[in-house]
Subunit: 292 residues, 2 copies
Amino acid sequence: MGLDIGGSTTRGVLFRGGQAVRHSRAPSANIQNVSPEAAAAALREVFRGLAAEPSVPVLAGAGGVDTPADAARLEALIRSVSGVSSEVPVTAVHDTRLILAAGGHTTGIAVIAGTGSVAWGIDCTGCERRAGGWGYLLGDEGSGYWLGRETVRAVLRANQREPDAAPDPFTRAVLLHTGVSSAVDLIAAFHDRPERSFWASLSRTVVEYAAGGDDTALDLTHRAADELHALVMMVAEHLDGPLPVVLGGGLARTPVGDRLKELLAESDVSDVTVLDQEPVLGAPVLAQAVWG
Amino acid sequence: MGLDIGGSTTRGVLFRGGQAVRHSRAPSANIQNVSPEAAAAALREVFRGLAAEPSVPVLAGAGGVDTPADAARLEALIRSVSGVSSEVPVTAVHDTRLILAAGGHTTGIAVIAGTGSVAWGIDCTGCERRAGGWGYLLGDEGSGYWLGRETVRAVLRANQREPDAAPDPFTRAVLLHTGVSSAVDLIAAFHDRPERSFWASLSRTVVEYAAGGDDTALDLTHRAADELHALVMMVAEHLDGPLPVVLGGGLARTPVGDRLKELLAESDVSDVTVLDQEPVLGAPVLAQAVWG
């Protein structure tokens, strides 16, 4: 069984001979986002949907599995609700590992540009490195939330420079998306609405205007790509290369991902896969790497 | 009457002939930090302590008074609990105005480097400018919270570069202050503890180590001063100068404030006052400027 425990959804797939034979889906079981009770309920729902034998091992990828203790806690939770036999392996890993595997690789660098961001890599010596993934308050550079926040900051900065200027089309689109009438109102709105996904959704407006050639939006998408590129290179410099790169997350197939591919090409990283399938489908490849 | 409505304390002073004759203090009445009920209760407590006649006008400085609507809301709240006669003025202004006045000026630039940060100025033509003050999620560059967060980021960055290196004395002090055992645990700790004041208090460790010559701590304090300097210059460039600068907030009398004074001197701003009295004592000077 493969599980992908995301911030909004938990996806489960039952594999037989490497082929997906049953799919299941439930709300988030990520204990960084929901209570342990809600996480357990979501996992129960996924396992009910998959209806697997107790002898089927479980490989789960989840955001926030940063330390062996995080992994052990999630593994214990999965064991307690899954009905998996005690001698059968249950392994929890950071979700970047699923991304890399879904891209068809067992060594390489996975970068996620979703609501959050992170880069992780593993080389053929088994050496691993991670960069970013510090969460929305400390980093997540180049992520959807980061891009939304930087957009708000860009609008505020322009307003600070010229408080009496009429808003340009991009600024009007940002104000419309966020439901406020003036730039200065964004300060209160941003602090009053704590949902990260709302501000991450502002990145849709940015990539739309970037695609249309708006200078501010283009600058923002380029800065996001620069940040993601820096994460990838930070991982790459510590690993035995050259390594393939797999790019996942909601921003992968946008001007941010396009720009990141350009930057990687300039850094002589040309083997770049933009993920076009669900990360959970990487579970068989990953299982091979993890369990042999 | 003068009020200084801060994020943790509300200070009230009754003046007679420009002299403070009675002091009063209560918890925060800042509606950005506490409920309207708690704010009303705190204001009632301050007014009870001052026991002023209904004919005494009220001048209140508060963080978060960003728009005329913010001012009107706070003025209405004060009126509703103070017992001030309806024909007597009640005026709410951004708390930077109190800082400037407490520094003895009616024109000039006030910069606050406390838990948050902001610069505001007014010139002799009555033109006003503000820079920063976007709150902890969007900016507050150079503030105590910002400095705490950048410290956490610096520790994480060093750990990302050399995951297996033993922590240096400054890193050990940061881990001790925050009660975690390793750098990577800071990620969860930072997101789990939402109180800004806790992370702002980490700036005390930074200024202590900066004073002791620690390179990382010095770099952090210099970066904070750079950010505050940028806020001041952003205000200055739009106003008729030269203008005096008044520096307030918990970081004013630390290596951050010292460095900021150096940077301002390099920018030919030499009339800098580091506030050594409570901002609320600026109320008589400010009253003269506001009410004539």
